[in-house]
Symmetry: none
Subunit: 205 residues, 4 copies
């Protein structure tokens, strides 16, 4: 029965995706040690045992989440952005706009940012790829920064430091999105200003 086989495969894939997606938020909010399988399963709406059909262990589930995060189109998007024939300032504004829009609309995106940044900070052993991944994002950002510094629109300073700072602020507001009940989200301009010189000042030159 090839049809049923396929269908089975399909169902498996669906369940796997569901677990993965629901877990991202849970892990981002509670951390690895703070996440109990029993509660996670309840949150997802499946039995505890079901989790172990799809993932060998809690740790494997956690590292699979990174595979998911890192396979995202983030890098591709960034690469597309950099190649556009725009000023660095426009690129930064576009990027910031895209980030803030997603952050405000999509908890999963915020969770991904949070987990990814935390991994980078804590250097957990079982996450391998992300160093490469993350540094790729950083490198692209640095390129834009360098372009901007040439163009005079981006503040002075080591590009690596500025890129780190920029994504740090993104992480900060991803955290607020996930955890804080009362907070003031910053605007796309606020985020851009991490890199861009003040408009008014420039205009006056």
């Amino acid at each position: 029965m090839p049809k049923s086989q396929e269908r089975c495969q399909e169902i498996r894939e669906e369940t796997r995706s569901k677990i993965l997606n629901e877990s991202i938020l849970y892990f981002a909010k509670n951390g690895f040690a703070g996440t109990k399988i029993s509660e996670l399963a309840k949150h997802i709406g499946i039995g505890q045992g079901t989790l172990y059909i799809y993932f060998k262990s809690k740790e494997e589930l956690f590292s699979e989440i990174f595979a998911l995060i890192n396979s995202s189109k983030e890098i591709e998007e960034l690469n597309n952005l950099i190649r556009l024939p725009l000023s660095a300032k426009r690129k930064i504004r576009k990027l910031s706009n895209r980030i803030m829009t997603r952050l405000m609309q999509d908890d999963i995106y915020a969770a991904k940012v949070v987990l990814n940044t935390q991994m980078m900070l804590e250097q957990k052993d079982f996450v391998f790829a992300e160093t490469t991944y993350q540094s790729e994002i950083y490198q692209i950002t640095e390129k834009i920064i360098k372009q901007g510094q040439k163009e005079g629109s981006v503040v002075e300073g080591l590009p690596v430091k500025l890129a780190d700072y920029y994504w740090g602020v993104v992480y900060l507001y991803a955290l607020k999105k996930l955890f804080a009940t009362k907070y003031k989200m910053i605007s796309e301009e606020d985020l851009s200003r991490v890199l861009l010189k003040d408009e008014r000042g420039n205009r006056l030159i």
Copy 2:
């Protein structure tokens, strides 16, 4: 002959302080769930049982840490700063300088910032005072921001948002101090720039 009462009291106070101080870093780095009493005790250099002489439970130890954090002189210092007959710009530069200097020299300070900010984000039930505490710091910062906006040295925007952003960046670099192995610490000017308009631009006006 019994140990002198005062000496006993002294020893108890010392040990309690030692536990509290050493625990701050540990909890900040590993989180509540990720902290094992057995390892914490080893880290402090005491027996597991000793911990329980001074604190009823892991949770109590954790919440006592907040009493310690919040009883700090942070507020007092800020209050002194705000009363000085200085421009908002000078105040912000002074404050940022003090914060970044401490952050770079003192892991415990970084840990305090981290724990305090996380508590505020996560709104753990057993921490009561900090809301007040935190908002007090925020309120003072807002006052400086308002002063600076009048003086034209501080960027436009809701003071509450800017204060939140400013302390968020402090939190961000406290995290980096504690966790990151490779990172570029921002300078005092970088931190100040969260609030202050770019120098060059201003000069040109």
Copy 3:
């Protein structure tokens, strides 16, 4: 496919009952402080963790045992006995007979008597119902005693004292059943004699 809901419920009820029943003897023999969860679990034939699925703590298990003891049919039986159109003497003989028969055949019954009496003596806080329960048994016994004193078959003395004494002797031999290796069990007549006047003496009147 999930286990059928009813079957699950059934299994849970069975395991719970098993734990409760097996624990009665263990607690009665070793006391609360003297009972180790690890050994109790081994005795029952389950894992330690299983105990905690059904009972929040050792203390909760202990107090649930009382709910079980007190929900017994003891009172009902006594109430039925008292309503029979018999002389107090016959009632006492019947009651004593039933008690001693059970005591000799059923360790669980002995354990229930032991735990219940000890609770009454020690007035543990977490046992609420039993005061009522116990005093109800006492009150019924007192009624039979009063009837017997009117009929001239029961010895003089405060009914409350005699009831207390009677059940005290029952407790005494429940203890012997559980603990003593060598002892002489008293007969039904011996127990009845706590309340009843000596036959021979009466006959001679």
Copy 4:
């Protein structure tokens, strides 16, 4: 300094006695497993360490208590009683009177009875002497019972069973003395009646 040597010895003896006496009640009320050294020391009014100067371990303290209990003059008194030129009935009444009087006045006596009987029931390994001791008391009691049965004042039945029963009732009211808040103490006559035939019946013969 021989004088100081003696004085030291004296003080040691006093402290040892104090610990022993205060411990009897505590152990009787809480059992071996239920007694915490920290609380026992507080109850006695000494430091925890002090206990270990006088006794090697909790277990040794417990078994020393038995040496104390068993070295008591109980047996001697009983032996004196049996040798008096009295009827068994008089002896039983005298004995019961002495027992009940002490029981009501002296918690330590009640505690001794309780501990002693429980040891006999539970046959703890580290108590050796008491079997002999206890059986000696029982044997003397049996002699009185046999005498009484010959004289017609004591009820029929195996002397060993009756002796066991008699001392069981004594244990029962020792328990009540220690634990119960509300209870009706039995009188000397009530205790005697365990062995003695009813007066009225006898008189009528």
